[in-house]
Amino acid sequence: MTTAELNSIDAVATALTDRRYIPDRALATTVFLALRLGKPIFLEGEPGVGKTELAKVLAEILGTPLIRLQCYEGLDTHTALYEWNYPRQMLELRLQEARGIDKEQIGADIFSADYLLERPLLKAIQHAGAQAPVLLIDEVDRSDEEFEAFLLEVLSDFQISIPEIGTITAQQVPVVVLTSNRTRELHDALKRRCLYHWIDYPDVAKEIEIVQARLPGVENDLANQLAFFMQRVRSEDLYKRPGIAETIDWAAALLALGTDELDRDTVDATLGCILKYKGDIEKLQTTGLEKLLSEAQEARAFAESPTTR
């Protein structure tokens, strides 16, 4: 599918749903506008709500490569942009010297595009294909401010200058998706340059839909139980609340175990699928899994009772 074919918010929403990514209307709007306006998308949200997934699905829809840059503190141009291929340069240098080539010439030869190693940002800018690639800049909150400033520059003109070669400008502006888990506040300047969207935890109905879209094997009843239980768990004061990614993992685990009913023992045995900290697991067990289960059940009964409809 080309960007031109995604000509309305509905078209974007349908395309995403077809790839088993269930967007809400606002997210579909953001994606649609990003494609139209050629602006980066900035996705924020708790871990596991589908930020990275969106970029992957987008690349699938557009039929273009996904170029991913994972951020971390100290990420620099050598890892993000380009690096010279030193061993090859060294060899070539020796060879050309042996052949008696002029030194000026050697310098020009070994600092040419042939000896350049593309890193994600350069790759995205140099991409030559019918469709612009999707550039995923993942967990940008983990990078440091110097990198943020650099990113701001790249994202505003999509051109890169390499001292030895010159300026390289993007053939087509890539579809850029930035994600952040908000471990720290990013500078407003960077966020201003993007279309911002906060992805929240899904509500029950959406969570059920997502589980069933991702794992068609899960029975309707189990999907319901899972979703209501997860909603209840998220209302606990946990160090790390489980996201939708954890729900899917859990559903897959239950599917593999052949379980079709959530009960105390099953939950107890598989709690590691959704909670990744010992303290959190202990906390839930103190609250009482049975209590949680029955409360989730009540919420479900209440939601499904005809009077509330």
Partner: protein, 374 residues
């Protein structure tokens, strides 16, 4: 054409409403919104709202308030999306700005502030905190210790690299360049090493009644830090947060102290650490903290405020700053009941929790930090 103009005017009015509510509304955002509107069906309020939100907003905290302002401006006042030609002659007016959570700030400007001021005259405060009462030798010693303390931060290694004459990492790029010019027989070695991180300090000093005894030490500490790291920011708090960095520029120490005491009207009163930190997070943190900032909180932790609030706000602070260090004068005291309620709730979010009651403890402090931080 007419309708476009009306829509544009309404969008500008909306920007005004956002600005009134303290939300971001810059012209670049407005242009982007107008561009975005070309592509969507502006007859649909939900899509219109999503478009406005994604183009104009960029902070999660603002989203809820944005939705309120949006509803009030476009929906309650029935500004038409679809029948754009319909012109409303009324003055374009935003809703009243949402009440901020600054009740406690407002309260502080009330009569009880006057009372506090009356009970502590500026001269009294100066007498109690006069640096001149330290002997020359003590001052010299304090300065040396504070230098060490600061050095513990100032030599933090960044994860970035810079050129260096020696080190463990070879700078291939530079070597190849040189080699290309000089020929491969003359290969020299160049190195890279981890850069020294530029550290900034944000000092938050408790000046409540229970901290009075340490105020001399506290002031020496403030001035010492400022001498070593001139861009250190300083704020004092008891029942509210007062940034005093600018006052410390004054040449005369005595005069700036008088100024500090005047501005911080709550000097010597009770403590509401949680409320003060919230005040700080809301008003100053965005401008004053960077991810390079080490926040030093100097307080005995006796807190009359809400312990839960304090925990939340420290957690909040933690996300903005590089490190949080709590220096506690009472920790050095042998008959000190170790943990007050407020402090206990804050502990998990602190990077370091260290004693600092006099110059001796400072010496240990520098050493601890140097090993712990790197």
């Amino acid at each position: 054409m007419e309708s476009r103009v009306t829509l544009f005017r309404n969008v500008m009015g909306f920007m005004g409403a956002l600005r009134k509510a303290g939300l971001p509304a810059d012209p670049a955002g407005a242009i982007e919104l107008c561009e975005g509107l070309r592509f969507i069906d502006i007859g649909s309020p939900a899509d219109f709202q999503a478009t406005a939100r994604t183009t104009l907003m960029f902070r999660k905290e603002d989203l809820a308030r944005f939705d309120v302002v949006f509803r009030e401006y476009w929906l309650q006042q029935k500004r038409p999306f679809n029948r754009l030609a319909e012109n409303d002659e009324t003055e374009i007016e935003g809703p009243e700005p949402q009440p901020e959570q600054d009740d406690n700030i407002g309260d502080d400007d009330g009569p009880d502030k006057e009372e506090r001021r009356a009970s502590y005259s500026a001269d009294e405060i100066i007498a109690r905190k006069d640096l001149a009462t330290l002997t020359d030798a003590e001052i010299e010693r304090a300065r040396r210790l504070i230098r060490q303390f600061v050095a513990a931060f100032a030599t933090l290694r960044s994860r970035r690299h810079q050129r260096s004459r020696r080190g463990q990492l070879l700078d291939f790029r530079r070597m190849l360049r040189r080699t290309a010019v000089q020929g491969s027989d003359a290969t020299e070695f160049y190195y890279r090493r981890r850069k020294i991180r530029r550290t900034r300090l944000m000092l938050l000093c408790d000046v409540s009644g229970s901290m009075e005894r340490y105020s001399r030490f506290l002031l020496e500490f403030i001035y010492g830090l400022r001498r070593e790291l001139p861009d250190t920011e300083v704020a004092v708090f008891a029942t509210r947060m007062t940034v005093i960095t600018d006052l410390l520029e004054a040449r005369s120490v005595a005069r700036s102290l008088r100024e500090v005491a005047r501005r911080a009207g709550d000097w010597g009163s009770g403590t509401d650490i949680g409320g003060c930190l919230r005040d700080f997070n809301d008003r100053y943190a965005r401008d004053m903290l960077t991810t390079d900032t080490v926040v030093v909180l100097l307080s005995d932790g006796w807190d009359r405020g809400d312990a839960q609030l304090m925990r939340d706000e420290i957690e909040h602070l933690r996300r903005r700053a590089h490190r949080i260090i709590w220096l506690n004068p009472l920790l050095g005291n042998s008959d000190y009941e170790p943990l007050t309620r407020g402090m206990r709730t804050a502990l998990p979010h602190l990077d370091h929790f260290l004693p600092a009651h006099n110059l001796e403890s400072l010496a240990r402090l520098a050493q601890t930090l140097r090993t712990a931080l790197n």
